[in-house]
């Protein structure tokens, strides 16, 4: 574990240097332990692949205090903490209209499109963290055959609900935004809803599965 100041109001706790489930577990343990403290001096906690950023009020907490807090949690053996895992199934319509890059991905993988759909919807994914836009979950666990580069030219507009992949990552665009990933489908679910008590459908540490649905089911279930 390496703790470095990121700014005059934040510390970056680095727990590893690679994307792995081991590092993810260490991140989750520290993140949840910090959340449980419910310390009002901490303003934001941000888990990522192998780090946790802690933003605090520098007028009420010093870097030394924040560092000691993290070290104590680590010493208490936070890595052993058990937690329930949330499993979320996301229906996806892989219609050409929603997945304009499906053909690209199939060509890149040298497999038929239906096999891309089959591979994408049979894997189990892990939410490593949320970032990029509100509610955007970075999913690990994409089958290797589907690893495809980002688009050379990002799109200016990707509609909310679009299911996409890039490199070893998978995700769902939660809000209308620009995007450089390969678009392969769309979910009728609302992935981000700021007007609810749980604004993001996916949380760090969740397990995610995609299930293929046809266009009629999509049209019948799409959430405004």
């Amino acid at each position: 574990m390496n703790i470095v100041p990121a700014s005059d109001s934040s510390l970056l706790v680095v727990l590893g240097d690679a994307v792995s489930l081991d590092n993810h577990e260490r991140v989750m343990s520290l993140f949840l332990a910090l959340q449980r403290l419910n310390d009002p001096r901490m303003r934001n906690l941000h888990p990522a692949y192998a780090s946790v950023l802690i933003d605090f009020d520098p007028l009420r907490m010093s870097h030394e205090e924040a560092t000691t807090l993290v070290e104590n949690l680590e010493a208490e053996g936070l890595a052993q903490c058990e937690r329930p895992v949330n499993i979320v199934t996301i229906p996806v319509c892989y219609d050409l209209e929603f997945g304009p890059d499906l053909e690209n991905v199939a060509n890149h993988a040298k497999i038929p499109e239906r096999e891309v759909i089959q591979l994408h919807s049979s894997a189990t994914y892990r939410v490593h963290f949320l970032g990029f836009t509100p509610g955007f979950a970075y999913l690990g666990g994409l089958p290797e055959a589907l690893h495809a580069p980002r688009l050379a030219r990002p799109r200016k507009h990707v509609p909310a609900g679009t299911v996409a992949i890039a490199g070893s990552q998978a995700g769902v665009y939660p809000v209308d935004s620009p995007g450089g990933w390969q678009l392969i489908g769309r979910t009728p679910l609302r992935v981000f809803n700021p007007n609810t008590t749980r604004p993001a459908l996916l949380g760090t540490g969740d397990l995610v599965k995609f299930s293929a649905i046809d266009r009629a089911t999509f049209d019948a279930t799409v959430q405004p």
Binding site: V4, P5, A6, S7, D8, S9, S10, L12, V14, D17, A18, V19, F31, R43, N44, L45, H46, P47, A48, Y49, A50, S51, V52, L53, D55, P58, L59, S62, H63, F129, L130, G131, F132, T133, P134, G135, F136, Y138, P174, V175, D176, S177, F192, P194, N195, P199, A200, G203, T204
Partner: protein
């Protein structure tokens, strides 16, 4: 009390001091780009400092008031008029019913704040009225104001206007100097990189907004070629992409990033970043973290003492 938006200006949004506690959901704090000017505006009209205000960008809006109200304008220097007569900045002013407030282009700075006595009546989302442009929520439908929008102002009772000490506003801007501490990946950079960052001025590019300020100037060389694993980024982080041209991550930033951060703007100078305009020159100076915290503490003290009693 209602305010009619006659002209919105280039980008006018509802902002308070932002929403905290949601960055793990990819939601940046947002809030006023110049929180100091915004807080002063609220305090002048007697509001709590976190009341919802309007933030105008580079040029102001034209608004019609349907009832008499007390407002305050702060931030970048701007020619503002109420019914044709000059409306002074940095003090509480009365707008009579049916009068129109017209704010021109900003002569200095990038952002103008308008506080209304009572505060804008905006339903808070995740504890804040601030507009999240990326998330399409908060403020008015999660977007900048449009012509024809109707804003409502809360009734303020027992709110007493305040007066700023002479010269207090001048102490805020501009210095042309932004102070920084070392960033999370400062050890990816050698002395030559810090030389470039700290000894030459950078120009604020036109592609700058609330998410980030792109700077142009002496390229900053990195010693490390490897890819940084995406991680959470702090407000005001100065990240260096492969072309060596630094970017200051700002209030509406993406909450994660994969470029190394050489430095980070100190909390006490964040308001100054919010007033940097395109084409403006900015210089950086390094301070230690204890120094940065001391400067923030002094700034908070200063804010308590700039009003006349």
């Amino acid at each position: 009390m209602a305010i009619h938006v006659i002209q919105p200006g280039p980008l006018t949004t509802v902002q308070d001091l932002g929403r905290y506690g949601y960055s793990h959901l990819g939601i940046s704090p947002g809030g006023a780009a110049d929180p100091l000017a915004m807080r002063v505006a609220n305090l002048l009209v007697g509001n709590p400092e976190n009341a919802a205000t309007l933030e105008m960008t580079l040029a102001g809006a034209t608004l019609e008031f349907d009832e008499e109200s007390i407002v305050a304008l702060t931030g970048g220097e701007c020619d503002c008029r109420i019914g044709g007569e000059t409306a002074p900045m940095w003090q509480a002013v009365r707008v009579l019913a049916r009068k129109v407030l017209t704010c021109g282009g900003l002569k200095t700075g990038a952002r103008l704040y308008l506080a209304f006595q009572g505060g804008l009546d905006v339903y808070p989302i995740m504890g804040s009225a601030s507009t999240s442009l990326a998330g399409h929520f908060g403020g008015v439908e999660g977007r900048g104001l449009r012509k024809g929008d109707l804003l409502s102002v809360r009734k303020g009772s027992n709110l007493r206007v305040r007066t700023l000490m002479p010269e207090a506003a001048q102490e805020l801007y501009p210095r042309g100097l932004v102070r920084v501490t070392r960033g999370a990946q400062h050890d990816w950079f050698g002395p030559e990189a810090f030389d470039a960052l700290l000894s030459s001025p950078y120009t604020v590019s036109e592609e700058s907004n609330r998410s980030g300020l792109r700077l142009q100037g002496e390229p900053i060389p990195s010693r490390v070629r490897s890819q940084l694993l995406t991680e959470g980024v702090s407000l005001g982080a100065i990240q260096v992409p492969h072309n060596g041209q630094p970017i200051i991550l700002f209030v509406d930033q993406q909450t994660t990033g994969g470029y190394p951060k050489i430095a980070n703007v100190i909390s006490a100078d964040m308001h100054h970043v919010g007033q940097l305009r395109p084409h403006e020159l900015v210089r950086f100076a390094e301070v230690t973290i204890p120094e940065a915290v001391r400067l923030l503490r002094e700034q908070e003290q200063w804010l308590k003492h700039i009003f006349q009693h």
